[in-house]
Symmetry: C2
Subunit: 299 residues, 2 copies
């Protein structure tokens, strides 16, 4: 079964799974699993593992314009994990995001597995499906940093000494300790017509948004904001910015122009293109294929 | 850190995690993780793995008197798992329980990991904490079958040929394909003063219930209903009935007597003892120590 077939099958079996979170009454509920050696490695601190596990889920709530309230934390822990210490880190991370951990489960496992369910209030949820032809397409912050951080981590220190230390640290931090756009998501309620978080990469997530809305998009490459220092880094800027995952920026649409929208939310946001009636995504007039990470990738 | 210390730490860090499910507004939300080679082995069919994963969570909702409505399913799948087939089995299992799968996550993993979040309506949730001195202590169905089934599975066929085939099949089925007491849980709202599901074993779960209620219990051993055929099986009946986990029977308290209560819920339930003002659990006058499975066991 191809990847596209599997996604189609999932949508057919579970019709309500198409957004970043499910809506039940006034609540948005989302669920993400992180696995050792897939989503993180053992040499990352338990503090950062806990923070990122929570952040990934809060980013899904942010994409729905929800106010995070609660989380449930299920942990499958191998021998090397100090379970009590990991739980303390989850308590700290929850406190930092002003949410409460109300349940969970502990189990044994050979590799560390963390599954978080996050719940937030969403009286007027932002959906992927509301984009209209003519809307501007926005991204909430510069892209490419997280994927650059991952690449720099993989290369190891000696091979990157020619790149500025400040950029390296910032990119690695963006990858290991991402900040979900929770405040912005809540402010976009009533302003944005649709929203998604950039978790799989811009090229893939813009397709998710357009497919859900039954529209297309035309993006101006030069308007895409780039993570500071990336242009001078010698890394593959186009690849990292277009296809780099785990950015946790918001990608959204609105009829408002950039200056109006930035003023309304009290911070810069970046108009990178327009929503089109014709389906398909264009980058400077050329088709932009989805080349980011896909959660549903079939092995 | 000892097991007791870890549990105390969890209660201090996350004060709302003490029941079978967390209550948010009118909803009960619970979360359980099942891990290959801990909770099931690879030779169990994907159908039974999906059914049991859902059943374990629905039993938590049953213990709250909740009406199951939704689930989120996160799967970490290794190579040997046909992901599409597993998702079909989850769709079938959800249909059988009349709930909707509204979200989830797919990831790679070296061992199959399944984390389910189940959500149900619970306008008047049953809690562990409502038992009062003088209440009768009830169990919803005969015990020992699930643990017997696990033991029979481990022994393999040749060593159990002296036990009746019908009993073997029923015990293995009870272990691999448990039926959560969802209907009964809903009927117990307004009747039971407290409730928990027997997931860790009677001896442990009665302590959980008594500790949460600030009471004790006195159990008559001869009143505990025993899984049909177990007495004649040659297996260790006392151990399996008192300490066997994954029964998913309900353990609850009520002022009503057995005949009244059975009539009200339209099926037999079993009064096995009384709630006492004095803390501690007695079995035929002797202290009953918690010797069941503990999820929070520290390795």
């Amino acid at each position: 079964m191809s990847e596209a077939d599997l996604i189609a099958r999932i949508r057919a079996l579970f019709p309500r799974t198409g957004d970043d979170a499910a809506i039940v009454g006034d609540q948005a509920i989302t669920n993400d699993m992180l696995v050792e050696d897939v989503d993180f490695t053992r040499d990352v601190s338990l503090q950062l593992i806990a923070r990122k596990s929570l952040a990934v889920n809060l980013s899904d709530l942010a994409a729905m314009g929800a106010k995070p309230q609660y989380a449930l934390v299920a942990i499958g822990a191998p021998e090397w994990v100090d379970t009590a210490a990991l739980l303390e880190e989850f308590a700290n991370a929850a406190r930092a995001h002003r949410i409460e951990i109300i349940g969970g489960d502990l189990s044994r496992a050979e590799k560390l597995v963390i599954s978080i369910t996050a719940i937030g209030e969403a009286k007027q949820p932002l959906m992927r499906s509301g984009a209209r032809a003519g809307d501007r397409l926005y991204v909430s912050r510069p892209l490419g940093g997280s994927a650059a951080g991952l690449e720099l981590l993989k290369r190891g220190d000696e091979n990157v000494s020619y790149i500025q230390r400040e950029f390296i640290d910032a990119a690695i931090r963006r990858h290991l300790d991402p900040e979900p756009e929770v405040e912005l998501g809540m402010k976009l309620v009533g302003i944005a017509t649709s929203c998604i978080d950039v978790s799989d990469g811009l090229s893939t997530d813009v397709h998710h948004l357009c497919d859900a809305s039954g529209v297309g998009a035309a993006i101006d490459r030069e308007r895409i904001p780039i993570f500071p220092g990336l242009l001078e880094s010698g890394l593959n800027v186009r690849e990292l910015v277009l296809n780099g995952g785990e950015e946790f920026a918001l990608l959204f649409t609105s009829a408002l122009r950039e200056s109006e929208l930035s003023a309304k939310v009290g911070r810069p946001v970046y108009a990178i293109g327009r929503i089109t009636k014709e389906s398909g995504v264009l980058l400077d007039g050329q088709p932009l294929e989805p080349r980011g990470f896909d959660h549903f990738a079939v092995r």
